[in-house]
Symmetry: C2
Subunit: 192 residues, 2 copies
Amino acid sequence: MSVQERKQRERANRERLIVATARELAEQQGWDAVTTRRLAERIEYSQPVLYSHFRGKREIIGAVALEGAAEMAVALRAATAAADGPRARVAALARAYLDFAERNPAVYDAMFQLDGGLAFAREDTPEPLKDAFSALLETLVEVAGDGVHPGLFTETFWAALHGLATLTRARRLPPEHTEHRIELLVDRLAVL
Amino acid sequence: MSVQERKQRERANRERLIVATARELAEQQGWDAVTTRRLAERIEYSQPVLYSHFRGKREIIGAVALEGAAEMAVALRAATAAADGPRARVAALARAYLDFAERNPAVYDAMFQLDGGLAFAREDTPEPLKDAFSALLETLVEVAGDGVHPGLFTETFWAALHGLATLTRARRLPPEHTEHRIELLVDRLAVL
DNA sequence: TCCCTTGTCTAGCGGTGCTAGGATCCAGTC
DNA sequence: GACTGGATCCTAGCACCGCTAGACAAGGGA
């Protein structure tokens, strides 16, 4: 029995290594550089080993996305907990969100741009994704305004943040006035 | 001279054919299906011919993006021209934008998600891109509110629309309440 | 000690973007 | 009208991609 357990442990470790290495490589050189060959080389195993853990590259991206969602939820809650008053909380939330996207572009892409084979906004949505959405909702529910469905408000606010994050990083928006755009968004969208 | 002119004309025609075919193929089967081999086959030329018109696949995407930007500008102006009053104009603008994104997903991707090698928000930004932004600005300038820079307001509003468009299509947002989200965005962001 | 499962690797398939180099065609010249 | 040189296009191939079949070795259980 102990032998089996050890093997399982080692397998789980290797799986974590794969995900961590894929993430690292993606952050360093972009997801295009995350090829199965390079990834295999970095973890010092042959290519087919990857396929004994994941169905394919898509699932690896999905695993990175889940890891990122959990981290984002923590980051958002930490930021809002340190702020006083609804206005400050929403602003802190927005900044924390965009900060996360900027600091972890590859993880952010895995979560919201790439196909990681994950189901969103459904019954069978993985827990970390639901929880990240909850982290947004918890703060936004108090500024949604009367008669506005909190979930719908959260979706809309989130979409606005997502637009800022992606357009800025794709160089469609100049990076200079990000802070002003955040202020505008918070002041207009949130009912205080 | 006439022979040269005819050749130039034929060359220009072929270039248009390449762009149109790439766009068609992308809308039918997604950009992943737009390979240089398939594209070459469809235009009934060999692969290298593509490279005598464009530096590579990236430039073809860029060409599709420019074509799309011009069409979007027309669509946005047509929608706002038919609406009475600032509120109706902004709502029509938002709907027209999202409608364009939904009807032309591949073109939309070429414009705002993929790398088409185009420069945005700069001096040397191609005219169609500047003009599409102008089409947004023309309507939004009247609802930016006092003391708010119209360009900055347009960028923020655009980002919100972009977020809705991309998250909905990437199945991160359920498609049901799109109209409600638009209403919310217009009512809150625009100063009437 | 032998067997058989489990785990891993080598090698290879069909695909990708892109390009070197040779063949062909045709306008302009004698 | 024959010749020639340049423009034009294609065949073939490079290095890479995601993914997998099948050979092989290692090691626990009988």
